[in-house]
Symmetry: C2
Subunit: 465 residues, 2 copies
């Protein structure tokens, strides 16, 4: 489903029409704002308002990145330091005031806050500016990992920012996405791709997340050659959307799916100008076959473990086969393939591995003890393999989708579907492309500072653990 | 509110009556089971069914602890190893079968699972036994911290157990509480107080949690002398319930609250045979005053930072005073008092510090950017101070209450209150005593292996981050 097509969410369509919007407001019904995604006509660049607390460490890195993207910025009266950093990099920046009009994003550098008193700057900035953010806007708070703080007080207030941003995400509404970006000392130069993604329409359905950027000793050549991207379970659904996005960005996609869907595999591969790889990833020799394919094309640049199945039953009613199949597809296969590729040199330098986990693996879900186990295990897998990936010059991360509109969710009974759609800060389901966009960010050549993490693509779902 | 009084939850009372229960079932309405707590007549000891995967490391420690508590156990046919461990410690244990009847708890030792195949034992045990658990039963899965696993596969499957237990908690219903207990290698001897708590009626409203028990070099003398317990904000509400529980267990409580409530402080202190300490914890010299009091009574054994206030407003409407007051009471005060007590020797050996955080600090809450920040900061504080506490022979942890029935929640509009009450796996709100019980567990002399953690007391709230 491309992002331009109707969502299948009739309520969303209705309240975003002139009559429906008026009626919903009169009746006091929720009025979720339609998300603007990459490629939508409504997507346009707006100024960014920058704020900072004393001792902010990231302004210079921000200015460097903004200068490369022709960002127009304002600064809050507390953030004179931004004006200096902006000027140094030839960036236009005016002082924010009542007549500045609306902005597309707020970026607040909280990395210097070390005391409870210092949090006052955070209050002032957001108290003054939150109303200036237009619908589909973005809010980023930049911080440091609490464990790298110098004192217990600093660690506590930096950790506290997470409660602040999660609350802000829930009260901002109007499709405004809010994230906390923890930048480890020394990792300032590695924030580029993460800034770009979270300020872009691509991150429309990612909100309430904490992203960590770690210090990275080596700097990778960015490179512009065509990359080879393996996507498992790519014949249709979310997997096909992932393959589509990489293909649209000029990458060579390898469309892997089960032999029973060989026709669909070939069709998708042809459409995306890629390569089809019909393969049962649960077969004993599957990892070898994948490695062999990797070698035949000089190694993969990106591997996306998207293939996954459900066999929902309460544990008392679940058959052994339903347990085993879910284990085999969702967990054993990505585990074996990843280990094989890492050990066998199946990844090119600056490689990327992304696993598709699930909200169910984070929060648990009745009837999904098997599925949730595998999806939680992937969170553990990327955390555990991060150092090994780093040694191989690669990264490994996961995304955890929430309620994503697919053919599968379209078949859910109306009331359950409605609950799934509305129980998040965006008041609507996501689309396969939202998952694809998050994966593309993690797979970005410049995302080498993001490793071992799991990022939810859930519109800041209210559900969680 | 003692646990014997009506809950104020009329729906819960209704569906637990004979007519209401029948009617609710006919209409397909939810029928939450009334929780059985310590002291309730319905509370009685029932047998425990033990299961284990190959390589289980905790059976011997389990047997030692069960032998001390006269637990009757059954073993699953997969778990012959339990029979041996039980016999060695003089424990009665019969093989579990169809005629074993209902059990009060399932305990599964998953610590030996290192492969995806090995998870089959987990499936078999719960598939066979889940129906045998009676209402208000308990389920414990014992595991190892994923980072201490020997291989990536073992780390992944051990982490996967979290998705399994969270799903099981949501599908078990009937007031059955489910936890994952991670026991670090070498910490086997430190599981006693945690096993006791999570198998007791005291843990009725704690479910879906992951508790970690760390290896501890020194072993503390258990001691039976009367302990001195400081509780802030203890004049009424949850604070008073905490003070009541410690007092009922024979401890000397120091009831701290604001001078404006001096009468109530004196009344509560007298009732509990404790000491009143009217004090404004936000005053500049408050930490000194607390330390002075600590010294005057030979040091505190337990400090509970319970005092907290809300000043709810969206950030745009929030006044500076509402921000500052929340920061001062909820964050700066416990920070200063804790640092002062740790540095000034205000804690006796084997001391305990417990902070009261909140679900809001974990998930965020609209209108609570200030409150959620402070409650998230406490999570960061206990994590950060855990090593320092350990060096001082102490521990520091936090509890994060969900929807707890208090005078405050009784004033919430009906529909909002109903949502708060029902949106958790127990289908009902908790009581102040539930928070107190969790704190008493963390404060137990034998809980020295639990440090730096935050445990939710939320009936496995569906809401989260």
């Amino acid at each position: 489903m491309s992002s331009g097509t109707p969502s299948g969410d009739r309520y969303l369509d209705f309240v975003n029409g002139p009559v429906g919007g008026l009626l919903a407001k009169r009746l006091g019904l929720p009025t979720p704002v339609r998300l603007v995604r990459n490629g939508d006509r409504a997507a346009k660049a707006r100024p960014v308002l920058v704020g900072a607390a004393k001792g902010a460490r990231l302004l210079s890195a921000l200015a460097v990145n903004f200068a490369g993207q022709h960002v127009v910025s304002f600064y809050h009266h507390d953030a004179e330091s931004w004006r200096e950093a902006a000027e140094e990099h030839g960036l236009m920046s005016g002082r924010f005031g009542e007549r500045s009009g609306r902005v597309g994003a707020l970026v607040f550098d909280a990395s210097g806050i070390e005391t409870v008193d210092g949090l006052g700057a955070l209050y002032r900035f957001f108290h003054d500016s939150i109303r200036a953010v237009c619908p589909n806007g973005r809010i980023l708070v930049l911080s440091i990992p609490p464990e790298s703080a110098g004192t217990a007080e600093a660690a506590a207030v930096q950790r506290g920012l997470e409660g602040f941003t999660r609350s802000l995400g829930k009260e901002a509404r109007r499709a405004i996405a809010v994230q906390l970006i923890e930048v480890a000392p020394g990792a300032e130069a590695a924030i580029g791709s993460t800034l770009r993604f979270f300020l872009s329409p691509g991150s429309a359905y990612v909100s309430g997340q904490v992203v960590r950027i770690d210090a990275e000793s080596g700097q990778y050549a960015s490179g512009t050659t065509r990359r080879t991207v393996l996507v498992t379970g790519a014949a249709q659904g979310i997997g096909a959307a992932i393959a589509e996005l990489f293909s649209a960005r000029g990458d060579q996609v390898v469309v892997l799916d089960v032999p029973a869907m060989a026709d669909k595999v070939a069709e998708t591969a042809t459409r995306l100008n890629g390569v089809g790889l019909p393969l049962d990833i649960t077969a004993a020799d599957a990892a070898d076959a994948v490695l062999q394919h990797a070698r035949s094309c000089g190694g993969f640049d990106v591997v996306v473990h998207n293939a996954g199945i459900t066999r929902d039953r309460t544990i008392a009613r679940m058959e052994r086969a339903g347990w085993d199949e879910v284990m085999a597809v969702n967990l054993r296969a990505p585990l074996r393939i990843t280990e094989k590729l890492l050990a066998g040199g199946g990844l090119r330098p600056n490689g990327r591995i992304v696993c598709v986990s699930s909200m169910s693996g984070i929060a648990g879900n009745p009837g999904q003890t098997n599925y949730a186990l595998t999806k939680a295990a992937l969170i553990g897998l990327v955390k555990r393999l991060a150092p090994a990936a780093r040694e191989a010059g690669a990264t490994i991360n996961a995304v955890a989708p929430g309620f994503i509109e697919t053919r599968m969710t379209a078949a859910i009974p109306f009331m359950v579907r409605e609950a799934g759609r509305r129980l998040n800060a965006m008041g609507q389901g996501g689309r396969p492309v939202d998952v694809a966009e998050a994966i593309a960010w993690l797979a970005d050549r410049d995302s080498y500072g993001v490793n071992g993490q799991t990022i939810r693509v859930c519109g800041q779902s209210l559900l969680g653990a």
